[in-house]
């Protein structure tokens, strides 16, 4: 039986309710929400609207119309960065970013936007004072600070609750990439002073692939990346001013958004704190077990409570890619190896060019699953090493 431990890429499996909601919507309301006014379209539109409300409620967003649906977090990040930044603007980011942030910023450099990258320490931790100093470099406040909340490589959680309010006080836009934290860590856009929040729907929010969203503070009006039909004011040659339509041209994926709604409701029923506690227990067992094995090096803070949802490690003398292949081929265990689309983060923790083996348990994984992975790794290390259920080396 396959053991999936790559939930940082996308959560799998989903709660049964998610499959049912997507299936039901595709069968009963498989029409184009917001296009026309007949009953089925209105039902599909109402469902999309309820999903907007659920997102807003989860992140304490005052107006659900400031929630724009996208196909993933990457699209949301691109919408915000390309839509808000102008030539001459200065942006501060970190050395722990995913390519979803660093590649758009690289492209924006060519358009006259200055990018400052604040280095994290070898555990992936950013010091707030370093971010603040970079944001005020030269005595002039940067236009934006953009940071990942939780690293997809090390799981390191950044202190956004400190950086956000500081940015607000200094008139700097604060944008958070919540790809690894939305649905796992508490996020409150008001108390954390988050102006722009980008997140996937298909990871810790348990929705189907092809879902994501962008939240924009009330007075932010990005230039659209995509132009087209929005279901209203069709005589105008201009895109509408109002969100979400301004940034939602084309047909929305209503079945997937229905699945996302079911996923969010599932997370809320369990409670984000309980989700986190479950994953922390699994990561504790994993970290303990890994430390009993010879030649294992763990990256990131090393304490489960500081790891978000992932643990990265390497095995001495072994290529992570080979380890991942063997885990899949011989043991039926799915983990992610390599650079995880975050080369700068690997540069920061010293794992270029081979990267790491990344394990990211999901809500439905168990302690037995962790033990199975540890047993497989023990087996791979040779006949002289084994690990008991308690993690003791024998």
């Amino acid at each position: 039986m396959i053991l999936y431990l790559d939930n940082a890429a996308t959560s799998f499996p989903k709660p049964e309710e998610v499959y049912q909601a997507a299936d039901r919507t595709l069968r009963r309301y498989g029409v184009n929400p917001g296009r026309g006014s007949y009953g089925l379209v209105l039902e599909a539109g109402r469902l999309v609207y309820r999903t907007r409300e659920a997102v807003a409620e989860l992140f304490n967003i005052a107006d659900e119309l400031r929630v724009v649906f996208t196909s993933n977090a990457t699209e949301a990040i691109n919408l915000a960065l390309f839509g808000l930044l102008q030539p001459g603007d200065r942006v501060v980011t970190s050395s722990m970013e995913h390519n979803a942030v660093s590649r758009p910023l690289h492209a924006l450099r060519a358009r006259g936007i200055q990018v400052t990258e604040v280095p994290a320490d070898r555990f992936g931790r950013l010091q707030p004072d370093d971010v603040k100093a970079a944001a005020m470099a030269g005595g002039q406040a940067a236009r934006m600070v953009v940071l990942c909340h939780c690293s997809n490589v090390t799981g390191t959680v950044q202190p956004i609750e400190e950086i956000g309010p500081w940015c607000r006080r200094h008139g700097i836009l604060f944008m958070v990439d919540a790809a690894q934290s939305a649905g796992l860590l508490p996020i409150d856009v008001q108390s954390m002073a988050i102006d722009v929040l980008a997140a996937p729907g298909h990871k810790c929010l348990l929705g189907p692939p092809g879902t994501g969203f962008l939240y924009l503070r009330e007075d932010l009006q990005p230039t659209p990346l995509i132009f087209g039909g929005t279901g209203g004011d069709s005589m105008s040659e201009e895109m509408p001013e109002a969100l979400p339509e301004r940034l939602e041209s084309g047909t929305l994926n209503a079945p997937a958004l229905a699945g996302l709604l079911a996923g969010i409701e599932y997370v809320q029923r369990i409670g984000i704190r309980q989700v986190r506690e479950h994953k922390t227990r699994l990561l504790e067992a994993l970290l303990y077990g890994l430390r009993q094995l010879p030649g294992i090096r763990i990256y990131g803070p090393g304490t489960a409570t500081e790891h978000g949802g992932v643990v990265s490690f390497t095995m001495a003398g072994r290529d992570p890619a080979e380890t991942g292949f063997l885990l899949d081929e011989q043991y039926g265990i799915c983990v992610r190896t390599g650079l995880h689309c975050a080369p700068a983060a690997h540069g920061t923790i010293g794992t270029l060019p081979s990267g790491t083996i990344r394990v990211s348990p999901g809500l439905f994984n168990t302690r037995e699953d962790v033990d199975r992975l540890l047993s497989a790794l023990t087996d791979m290390l040779g006949p002289n090493f084994s690990i008991s259920q308690q993690g003791d080396v024998q």
Binding site: Y49, T230, G231, G232, D233, S234
Partner: protein, 97 residues
């Protein structure tokens, strides 16, 4: 399609109309979204229809929710009569004030 005296409200975007319908229904108003009549809106806009008897409540709720319509009309025998906003941009029931 629209009974005489019924009110229709147009909003700046379809999602706003959707929000208005959802919140007004929560307030027990008998409103529903309809295709906007061509006499008052070009293209494929949506309008929110509400019975005339609920006009005062509708206006009060929309003002409270800060969901100001971009236009409101009352259906009459001769067509759609504008319900005009005050100088502050708020709508007032032309009958009850």
């Amino acid at each position: 399609m629209i009974p005489e005296n019924d009110i229709i409200a147009l909003f700046k975007a379809p999602a706003v109309a959707m929000k208005a319908e959802r919140l007004l229904r929560k307030a027990a108003l008998d409103c529903r979204l309809i295709p906007a009549p061509r006499e008052v809106a070009a293209g494929c806009s949506m309008a929110l229809r509400c019975p005339a008897a609920q006009l005062s409540t509708m206006i009060r709720e929309l003002n409270r929710l800060q969901l100001t319509p971009r236009a409101m009309y009352r259906k009459s025998a001769s067509g759609y009569q504008p319900v005009t906003p005050s100088a502050e941009g708020e709508y007032h029931d032309p009958v009850s004030g």
